[in-house]
Subunit: 242 residues, 4 copies
């Protein structure tokens, strides 16, 4: 059983009627709901305004994969929580960064990059081309590409390190392209960035989007937990002359 915690800033849903209409119980609840319908995945939720942002040691101890959605309040996420989450990723926890998490503190910290990009809110269609059809994250999708009718545009240059694997590239009718599905590894943890999901559109109800996120959860699930430290060690072979 892969234990997921779906983390959400959870502000737009409370203050913006348009967002609330789409995600009445929050983007995190929508994510947890469809993940809980998957075999072998059990999801719970956490959000910014919970004590310790809902990411206590007890919660993280029971989290194999964390999904992250944030947008307007990245700066309100406390550094000590970010550091704790980063350490968990280093030790093996998976992390799925969604949409505007490209400039979240945790994504920037783990990639070492700014996550900058260009953007436009114009309700454009987006078409996600499948660059690596054999990657675990691309299983169960239509051949070649899938589309989302309305979303925010995110365009290059996206400031990230060269991904280990580039699974999707998005085409936008307004003229841009975007590396929209990117795999990274840090320490013993796997990280997937996935671009779709502007808060005013029902993107996370989309069947293909749900397939990608569930696949990413399985791909990012830890294979063991490892402490990272710098141990002093003795020689394994006799050194010459001793």
């Amino acid at each position: 059983m892969i234990r997921v915690t779906a983390w959400n800033e959870f502000r737009h849903e409370k203050t913006d009627a348009k967002v609330k209409a789409v995600y009445p119980t929050g983007i995190h609840q929508c994510l947890a709901d469809f993940l809980n319908r998957q075999d072998g995945i059990k999801a719970r939720i956490a959000s910014l305004d919970d004590p310790e942002h809902g990411l206590t040691d007890a919660v993280l101890d029971e989290t194999d994969v964390l999904t992250w959605w944030g947008h307007a309040a990245h700066h309100e996420v406390r550094d000590e929580i970010v550091n704790k989450v980063a350490q968990r990723v280093h030790e093996g926890m998976g992390l799925i960064c969604l949409h505007s998490a490209h400039v979240s503190k945790i994504f920037r910290k783990l990639t070492g990059s700014t996550g900058s990009l260009c953007w436009r809110e114009a309700n454009e269609k987006e078409r996600l081309w499948i660059i690596e059809p054999s990657h675990p994250i691309a299983q169960g999708l239509p051949a070649r590409f899938f589309e989302i009718e309305h979303d925010e545009m995110y365009g290059e240059r996206f400031d990230i390190p060269t991904p280990d694997k580039l699974v999707f590239i998005t085409w936008f009718p307004g003229g841009e392209v975007f590396r929209s599905g990117c795999c990274f590894e840090r320490g013993h943890g796997r990280i997937f960035y996935f671009q779709p999901g502007h808060e005013t559109f029902p993107v996370y109800y989309d069947r293909n989007v749900q397939t990608v996120i569930a696949n990413a959860v399985r791909w990012a699930a830890p294979r063991g937990r490892h402490k990272l430290e710098c141990p002093m060690v003795k020689e394994l072979e006799p050194l010459p002359g001793r």
Copy 2:
């Protein structure tokens, strides 16, 4: 002309007679001296106990490549200086992290990793195998490998992201291996990690080590400076139905 600033913690040289005997004016001065003998490179020095650690905006404005040596006082490097250096790297400045800089704040920040490894002070010989003989950083070296008679052992697993290019792997007689020359890119900047250089041995006087560092400076020199931001942009092509 490539402008280098050689940064050094510069503490061991003041407090440890053994280190002072090897580097009477500091590791940074030794690095600056041999770099200043290279065509097309002009080097200055800076250190932890200088005001702003010697890394004022004025200095960074005139720095194309920064070399970094630190060991016992990583925690004393102020976060705002680290953040400023990271921004400069994102905008194009090169960074050469030497030896125990594997756990410096700046290396951890830019790689997103812990930099953990195992180590042993046993004055071992080390042999650096040249994995990419055609890489710019490997030019002018002996065929196949070069050796340093005495150095500290650094062994795997080294906690770093998969390097873009792995230029050297070190063999130690005590039984370890280490990815000792690693290239990364973050933002518009290039980063090279190079393992040799324990403070009690005259490693930075070694001709091959100097060749590697000078090559790395040339490789990491910026190709333009770029600001990183997230601009809102207009569509380039007419969107359907508008």
Copy 3:
């Protein structure tokens, strides 16, 4: 059930008493035997002197992962069989290249490299350092490293493209290092190169070696089969002015 075909040149075992003593029924049979004791894997054998080298369309149709051991007779492997195997890998079949398969036609064809390296038969111990402890291929191994008491030395520079992931680096007491566990992808297929296995030593009876090979088989098992072609396609969006 993952269907493996263990392919072997199978010449040394017939002509060299020392090799025959170690592998009386051939290296391929040894590999098939331990793979058949694994859950979810079913292995058969094939060899150079079988009709079509044992790699008929019927056999390949029932092969998910092919393991390859060859040494003295690489040049006797017919090009049309190599081309057929390469096409299968492109379509999704996994390939595990063992030991001296580093200069097999199939490894050279799929990597685009020569596979050259340096070597020495001196019955040295080898110590395989685990560079990526969280990689699927490294699961179930001892912490940090494992050793094989006697094997042939293979040393850098190993002429391969930068691997997608470098899982192991071997240390040899005679002074060399070697990238001994390397992951590649070509088309829809996954390829793993694994260095241990000189024919005069019982390397493939070693428990850790068997763990690695079984892990590699699971990692390389196809996720679907895909034809590769260059289709002419119609525009998906109306072109301006039409």
Copy 4:
């Protein structure tokens, strides 16, 4: 001085009036002409119907970087010439594969992939987004992207290994994306694939296209020549017990 040989199939220009009107002396001559106007580059031409396809040992001995354009007659390129070119790349010669060279024998041989893609001749505009603005191949271009008014569409999935660096992604108005500028290394040689250049359009007269190709020539120029072989070597350190 970087010595370039611009190789061309040179058939369309002789048989198709439309192509002849665009490139009266051949695509290779157009390429050589603008390269010869660059500082530090000296270019000659060669083509399929020359003896030995114009790629004699004498010519290759004087070639630092080879550019390759082929389309309808890939199969007429003799395997022994392809093998010789591949060996030169392994030894350090640069190779720039243009447009339909994605399925040339030499590109397939060196990448180990099929080079398959989808395509459409519809005279579409293409917009090349600059993914790595700091890469040597992207210097001197407009900010963010450049456009070519008419070209053939090449779309994903492009069957190549994960490039070392992905410099450009092309957007097409008909709805596709394409990894259009890809860096690889094989042996000691550097390889750049660049997508623009359908024979019926004056693409290689475009100033930005010329900038990219000249940059690529400089990037791919050899840093030394190296023979690749598998030498038997003696131990560097005394083996225990000898």
